[in-house]
Symmetry: none
Subunit: 199 residues, 4 copies
DNA sequence: CAATAAGCGAGACGGTACGTCTAGTCTTATA
DNA sequence: TATAAGACTAGACGTACCGTCTCGCTTATTG
């Protein structure tokens, strides 16, 4: 591996190599724990170059994870709530199930439980998709968009972190259908009737 | 701290002291990472006494966490789906928000991402409440009880692990209401057709 | 290599192995600088065991050097000043030229220029022989024993540290002869004349 | 600090600043080890400017030390061996005791134990004075000039590197007297008488 | 007078060693 | 004979320093 020196300017190729190495080791640690020395060695970089730019091993790992999350998924439905929601959830579930995806997301979530910086970064990179979903729901006049977002992503993270159940397409579709049921009731006359019945 | 020697029999007081020490350090690590030496010192115990009974640090931590989770919550509603679900979720949310609760649950979840034993134990102690909710839902003839369980616990864990939002009573009630909406649709003709198809 | 554990007591076998390893690496570094990791590896010891008992790499090296210096040389002459002095210097020179000796002595002297602890230890282990020589000289009624000691050891260290000249037996004998000349003159009239001239 | 650029010619002011900085840091390291970065910073110079002109840190330090040693001491006695020798040793001792002198000499000697280049340079700058002394002794017909040179410089370096004793004027005078005693005996009839007595 | 060449301050870089910390194992001494 | 005490091996962590490299600037020399 050869990399051009950039003199007194930060070497972005080295930065990228470090993040790539970290990502590769997180995705497939090969039995070994992810080590700074291992990252440095795989990136062909001195350890100090890592510590010059990141405050700790976890910061590097998070950055690597973030980098990976930047791949944006565009998902368009058919304009109905059910169609849009289904498209969104299917693509979200699929995104988490890409190769290495579970390892990445569960690692970052585990880090976030301990490291405040990790917590911030986790928030930051979840918020983008969360906002997208919220906007989608609001476009359709859903009454409790926030709680519905939490249910949707709740299922996703629950499977990732707690139950380990696969995030398959069928689940996404069924979840979309259920959430649509919640939403459909609100603006219609039926909903008002229902609410009346509930009180 | 003084503890009676029990000779050649396993000293259960020591066992309890160890779990208490671990629990205390997990609940409030005071900036320091939770260390075996710290647990041993706080429990007034030799390290070997810990390793005699638990295979690893994580096992001790998990045991301490489990101990805490054993406090069972009984929650009875008014017999309607909405009432029972609300009672269940309110008590679940409240349980997670007991002092030290967030720290416990997020710690055990973080451990589970790495340690297979932790994963098993996490499953084991989540499954009890999960089953309770499932039974509740089935008693009310809900169509997709599994997915609804995941939605409910998804919101709980999502707030614990990802967003950090508080698990307040109001959220529990609103969530119960939304989930009830999903379920209420079931007796429609489409639903019945659907159910028929499934059976 | 196998070494018995000694439980909660310091393992003296490990101590010895560490010192031996350090000594071996100092005597023949094989091109590589003497490293704590290398010492630990060669001794079959964790690094922490070194740092538990010595404050720094140099402390270990010095201790290893001291250990080596403890080999006492007994040197008896024929009872005349020349004979005793010759025996003493020949054995001292020979001692410094034992295998690894130059490396040992020059290393410790180099360390002493920087490290206060090294300075103390160097003093300590030179003082024994220095005192022996001083006693020898006083037994023969030499007038300036201290300055003669410094000349004798001066030549030894000068060759070790500055010129690199070998400390051969012939030089020791000639040096003894010269120093004897200094001493012999003392009671003579010429000396008294000389002293008078100096004042 | 401002220094004129000299364009594509070597900047001798920078050279001098580097040597001065090195000398100052050697003379008073202030607890810190002497570092290339520290030298560069104190000299207001980029590190590359140091490495462009010297092959290693030790080369810079030695150059700084040499620079300082270039101050030549002229020492003339009264033409007798005792007088000339006294003058020479007194001035040599005084030279070593100039401010910063001990730090300089002990540093260079320590370096010489490790670095071959340092060894060469140490030889080189000691040889000048050593030769001067040798010439002086030969002029007076001394029999073992080489060994006497070593005795004289041996005492000097021994005090510098090993014992730390001050190199005061009185010691120099007494050493000169002792060495004169050695020398006086050789060419005279008294010496022959003595030698006969010794055998 | 433009083009080129080299020295320079700055500081990032690869590499190596340091000294610290923790996990988990082992033995002694205590009660 | 189970326990506390704590030394032990192993190995990762984050820091320090060396010597190399390039950038962007400045000045002297060349065409």
């Amino acid at each position: 591996m050869h990399r051009e020196h950039t003199g007194r300017r930060r070497n972005d190729a080295a930065r990228q190599d470090i993040l790539d190495a970290a990502a590769a080791l997180i995705a497939d640690p090969g039995g070994q724990p992810v080590t700074v020395d291992a990252i440095a060695a795989r990136a062909g970089v001195g350890k100090q170059t890592i510590y010059r730019w990141w405050p700790s091993k976890y910061a590097v790992m998070l950055d690597a994870l973030l980098e990976r999350a930047r791949v944006d998924v565009v998902d368009e439905g058919d304009g109905t709530l059910l169609g849009d929601l289904t498209a969104f959830l299917v693509s979200s579930f699929a995104g988490a199930e890409r190769p290495g995806g579970r390892a990445f997301l569960s690692t970052v979530a585990a880090l976030a439980q301990t490291d405040p910086a990790a917590r911030d970064l986790l928030q930051q990179f979840t918020s983008r998709r969360r906002e997208a979903l919220r906007t989608l729901l609001q476009r359709h006049g859903v009454a409790e968009p926030d709680l519905m977002v939490e249910q949707a992503y709740g299922v996703l993270w629950y499977r990732l972190l707690v139950s380990g159940t696969p995030l398959d397409r069928d689940s996404a579709e069924r979840l979309a259908a259920l959430l649509t049921l919640q939403a459909d009731r609100r603006p219609s006359t039926v909903d008002q009737f229902d609410e009346g019945a509930r009180n």
